[in-house]
Symmetry: C3
Subunit: 265 residues, 3 copies
């Protein structure tokens, strides 16, 4: 059963994030680093990209959360990701996987399969990516997806059960599941698909919300809700993808638990 | 003879691009990846940066077009570029070269000479770069150019004839030539030179328009025209380079063939 | 004694920068390259990221100034930085160090100690970073700082005397010192801490102002003042970090020596 996430949960999770200002270690792709960092700064987390073998394992262990995004994977970065994941797991630091374009290209598909076996706290992908990770046939062509998120809910639930991760399959409606309970977050706007990094930045938000989260399912769902709600508000105040991006960051920054609680009445 | 490109050709080429939503494989420089991706998303193409040796050749072959930009060239990336070019040529995927700062630095000059011998579909550069590639003396200092685009038209025409590529030499007016016919696109605004990546993103637009193009000369010229026309409109609606960038992306997104056809009356 | 920098000095330094349009070689981190380049273009300098071993030493020597920022340091980039610094010193090109997160991670701490021994023209950091570089105990966690800039003025003055560099310790108020004279620049706005790269871009401004500077202390202080003054103006015209970034670039672009001189009356 898929129920819409109550806004009061989003408000509570945002209040928790703002109170802790988590340090998030980002091992993400070359293209989206600036928008990803800005999304985290706007919501109230502290991003840090520490990418050297000499530093990444140590830094993952002292961070509040870790993000691993395979968008522009290559061997040196893959090595660092593996070290950071081992270190995060040893230190009980939650980590999130964004399996960009998994299923399309063998190299990253193999890497993602190894990552999934390392007990991620959360996995965030579009329908094609979640279908591919769960072993279903997929039809993506990079970050695009040709599949509707609803079509991947069963795959997401199966992936959550087999890995122990919270799995978010995002699209027009996002579905977030631990394999037993599945929340739906129906917010967002199509212009978000015309701004590079909105999906990757959502994965960073997911990582930020998992830091010290008493309820990881609600944390991940709240991250999806915050991105969708702010995307909707920002789209209403902008004229296209350029002005949208600025408005999106402003909206994340100005959002408060109280604003959310008033809307939920 | 240099004639101004008719707007009706721009409209027809834009309609063709929007109908096909080409997947564009971008091997570009470190600095401009986000704006390059956002320009392609705004106009209606799908960008993908796939940079590993393990993936790039395969991905180039399944893309609609490939861009090779040498702005931040280094050995590992150079290897991947060569592999992607070979693969694109084998699969008959059109590819575009942006020879950033060629002629200023020996390493990239040598790389660009090798690339030019690999039958690019299109080459897009400023006057200094086109003069250097064609073997004329140049005077650039990086991405800046001290030469006027008109001064490089003869070099562009010679380069087009010797390589078989469509050559675009861009500046206050852009000239696009196949060695026989030369279109001029006189649109644009000086503020574009104060936003990093407008030239590199134009090369990505050129690549996108060459995907499945029945007339590559018109396709490349239309890419230059779209960038210039949207730049002019965006400059009129903004106050400096920061607001310009957002307005430029909005304008690319909102542009339609019908808007262009009405303006051409 | 710490005196507020007179605006007339800022105006004179800006006039000098605009007249020379310096070429600035940027070896900076992965995350902030676009905003750094855009800040330099907006103020009237020409940024270039030349990162290959094959090119960096040559390019540093023909540049007006060099920036070395260790934000995403890794071995290949470290090698290039060392070569560029040697080359800059041989050619009497001023260079600026941004020791991001020095003191938190051993690898970059060691690298920064080596860099500091290579006679930088300027060093720009937050209080934690300057305290760590000067050998005081620090408490940073990445680019964040938990210390107030005023608490690091003595460390900055000591670091300036021991290295010969102009040292800028930035925060709510910036302090810029050559070890004898210390300027304070009290301008800025808290929203700047919620936009990634404002500190790194300030270091690039510092580098740009040091190019051919007859008075490096005033040059570095003017860079801090320009960033702070434009940050204040931009914050007044924006609603959050997204609109701030665009307004900041616009304000840098529109700022003139005359505007500054009128304000100083």
């Amino acid at each position: 059963m898929k129920k819409t996430l109550p806004i009061t949960i989003v408000a509570d999770e945002l209040a928790r994030l703002r109170a802790t200002n988590p340090l998030v270690h980002l091992l993400t792709n070359e293209v989206v680093q600036e928008i990803t960092a800005n999304v985290l700064l706007a919501i109230g987390a502290s991003p840090a990209m520490i990418v050297a073998e000499e530093e990444a394992a140590f830094f993952a262990a002292i961070s509040g959360a870790l993000l691993v995004n395979v968008g522009t994977l290559y061997p040196a970065r893959l090595t660092v990701m593996k070290q950071a994941i081992v270190s995060a797991n040893q230190a009980a630091v939650p980590w999130t996987l964004d399996p960009v374009a998994v299923g399309v290209l063998d190299y990253r598909t193999q890497a993602c399969r190894e990552f999934v076996a390392c007990q991620p706290t959360a996995i965030r992908g579009n329908a094609s990516e979640i279908l591919a990770l769960a072993g279903f046939a997929a039809s993506g062509r990079g970050v695009d997806t040709l599949a509707d998120s609803a079509s991947a809910v069963a795959a997401a639930e199966q992936l959550a059960r087999s890995t122990g991760a919270i799995v978010a399959v995002t699209g027009e409606t996002d579905y977030i599941t631990d394999g037993a309970i599945t929340w739906a977050t129906p917010w967002g706007h199509p212009v978000m698909t015309r701004v590079v990094g909105t999906g990757c930045a959502l994965s960073a938000l997911v990582a930020a919300f998992t830091a010290q989260a008493p309820n990881p399912l609600n944390a991940v769902a709240a991250a999806c809700a915050v991105a969708g709600l702010c995307g909707e508000k920002a789209a209403a105040r902008s004229h296209g993808p350029g002005s949208f991006k600025a408005a999106f960051l402003d909206t994340l920054y100005l959002l408060t638990p109280d604003i959310l609680r008033k809307e939920s009445v």
